[in-house]
Symmetry: D2
């Protein structure tokens, strides 16, 4: 085992010397002013710069999922935290930290699903087989489809238009867009009604088309939602409030435990 601290940490992302910073080989002073934020995200995650059109498509996915309001646990948590006497970074971190399998993981699962469907020769057959498997294994909510609040999630059809334009322009191949449409159709067939694509399902099409590994769909959603976390934490900070909990102060939760009782003897 190597005892050298310098070798204990190893990275291909960044190299530094005094006065010099390079990301994946590019000097930071070359990047500044020539490369946008979405391109930088891509470079850091993929090791090379994207084309401008690819970067633009990534940017659409990033800008479209920034917020879903204070009913979302992540946003609510950032707002509460902002009333507790912590810095903006901690308010953001407490909210970011709950973008787990249920709250932030649908995109990751949807990318994996589209990839599985697209691996079949025919998307319709692929969707049929993969949904069969999903429900046979006890799956309940197909990742990326359906929304408890929106009958139609207004972000999804617009995002699919943007992806279709990118396919027409040759930016991406459209294989995962086809897979997603096939999944939506097959899901409607199985359920007897349309269960439309939601934001996670739509951004997953973009991430899949752009070649991101599935877990990065979650990571990129985290970047996107961080904007909403910051905005709400900041708005709440400006509003003031101290120790603001989820419910107004004179509302008491439902208590369902034992009635008042004395301590046992002894």
């Amino acid at each position: 085992m190597n005892n050298d601290a310098a070798d204990w940490w190893s990275t291909s992302i960044i190299d530094m010397q005094p006065g010099e910073i390079r990301y994946c080989g590019y000097a930071i002073e070359d990047l500044i002013g020539r490369v946008g934020f979405a391109e930088m995200v891509w470079l850091m995650l993929r090791g090379d710069l994207p084309g401008k059109a690819e970067a633009g498509l990534l940017e659409v996915a990033l800008m479209s999922a920034v917020d879903h309001g204070p009913q979302a646990p992540s946003i609510a948590i950032a707002r509460m935290a902002a009333t507790c006497g912590v810095g903006l970074q901690s308010a953001m971190a407490s909210g970011l930290n709950v973008l787990g399998d249920v709250h932030g993981g649908a995109g990751e699962a949807a990318v994996a699903l589209y990839r599985a469907v697209a691996a079949h020769v025919d998307p319709e057959a692929g969707a049929k087989a993969e949904l069969e498997r999903f429900f046979a294994e006890g799956g309940k909510f197909l990742p990326g489809f359906g929304h408890r609040f929106h009958p139609i999630d207004p972000r999804a059809p617009r995002l699919m238009e943007v992806v279709a334009e990118a396919v027409d322009a040759g930016t991406v191949k459209g294989k995962h867009l086809s897979a997603a449409h096939a999944v939506e159709a097959e899901l409607a067939r199985r359920k007897g009604k349309t269960i439309p694509m939601n934001i996670d399902g739509a951004t997953a099409v973009i991430f899949a088309e752009l070649g991101f590994p599935a877990p990065l769909a979650r990571g990129l959603f985290c970047l996107s939602r961080s904007v909403g976390l910051l905005a709400h934490a900041w708005e709440q900070t400006e509003q003031g409030g101290r120790n603001k909990g989820p419910i107004p102060r004179d509302t008491i939760w439902a208590y369902t435990g034992p009635a008042p009782r004395p301590l046992p003897e002894g």
Copy 2:
């Protein structure tokens, strides 16, 4: 006190109805494909869309501070976390959470300093007065200047070029750029040597020129650094490793406490 949960949470950022999502009045389907990620950040934090040139300047600040390698505690934490069996969101959150007053707060303090200097009639006089006050009050490290690793932080001069171009183009007024130059000159005069501007001091010029409140300099740095947190957490995940601590496993820390001793009697 109002007992209505709907009024307990109040926001001017987002409004929703089933099938409808609006950020500060704009429908999400109107924004998608027409507004970039940096513009969206601006809209969420400021309530209105920026001009394209302003958005471009914000984007430069965001893309330039994404990473400073595994010697930075935030990045190291994200990498360690990634070896502990948590999701990417938690690895990011644990790192983000330490961008506190010392690690992430210099930009916030630098914006406040530039604002204070720029409030004087003359930037040189302003810098003289504000640094006098800063050191008189016991300040040690002037926020935004000096770097323990880089003799010259390569990001700062390049960023100042970009700001100067934006002043020439009329995108921003340049008042805080002048303040920053005056601060750097006054600091050199006091110390007898140049203590050059660092990344926090440089991005603070941009945030101040663009009219962001000082605390958002910290918040925007958090957004920027989140990219590095994600990239390093992901790279470490791909490398593998289990419970990776800060030092190689056969290196032991310095123990400075009591020598081995028995428990006290009784």
Copy 3:
């Protein structure tokens, strides 16, 4: 600067060799079965074992502040997190993370206040002087006194009985208990009505009597409240629920921003 990773980290808390673990000099196998949890907390924070009576008093402070229900932001956050698909550790961490200056810092401030009062020759004169200073400097909520929900916080008088017994038994000196009583009396005199001690003010008496530095009052409160965080995260996990936000799903927050509007031209 020392280049050796082993010296970069230095501690007097723990020493290890293969097969050997010592806390502050004591072998773990000597401690197990002979030293309780509160004694272990003390040893880790103070470097030596407490007397049994001191440990008992610390234990009272730890057990009395474990929970204040789902209206407290910390507890609400842990419950919400538990519905988002993260592990118990992350649900606890997101809640713990908001025990900041406002939510978790009152005890720290109260210890400092009692210490300041007790540094005067006479507690009454001390309370008068320190409250004069506190309100003159713009303080609004005297830390440790008053509660927005409880007219009398039922934990405080009972805790003061326990401290009084510890004074009678010679476990602690009672100087900070006297200071706290003097503060409460002086506050009532100034306000024209009793503003009774709350849980933070009461546990602060214990921490001050036991000689803990003020910041550890916050740290010990964090340990205590972690029990409630775990219990609520676990109960919520067992209840189920997915992405549970602060308000029922068909309740919408108050939107106070711009009316619906089209994007600007261009």
Copy 4:
């Protein structure tokens, strides 16, 4: 769907009225001074008070796992965080947050394993069957056994003595102690050498004997380790240091990415 915020949150842990706080029916003023910290932990998690002997056994598990030094990622993170200008609560939270499946989840998995073994008529047959299954399903590290640093983890044999005494005293039945011994023996048989029980395997015996659900083994470990997180964050705070990363400042990590390169044209 119920629209009432008060019913949206439901708990059997705590009930409050102004001036009244009850945990699982017991008034807090009845509990204070009569119930220890470990009993309170039990009450909060189980809904009823334990016997004194059961509480004592839980306390042993809690006190024995508080710390494993700065090579553990959780402890290292708390120390780093303490140099970044955040409160003790955030330093603790960032560390706690990484006690995930790999770092904090072994106890949970070990409780499940012991339960599975103990469900067989005979522990030896149970251990044989369950390990057969574990390795057949691709398992590599049997949870609770083996340690990369300690040839014998000094905590485990001492904890097993304490459990054996509790079995002799009739506090617990010993079924899971037998299961653990059978697992250790079967593992040695399969591997051709002893792979001794570690701290997670040992505390898991206690949690299983006391009837805790497996996920609470992780939760209780989090409570225990929180003590170490606090102690190290506090020690580091007292030592000072700013932005302390994992390696000394003049050590550079291994960079393995592309050599310096110019930006692509265009």
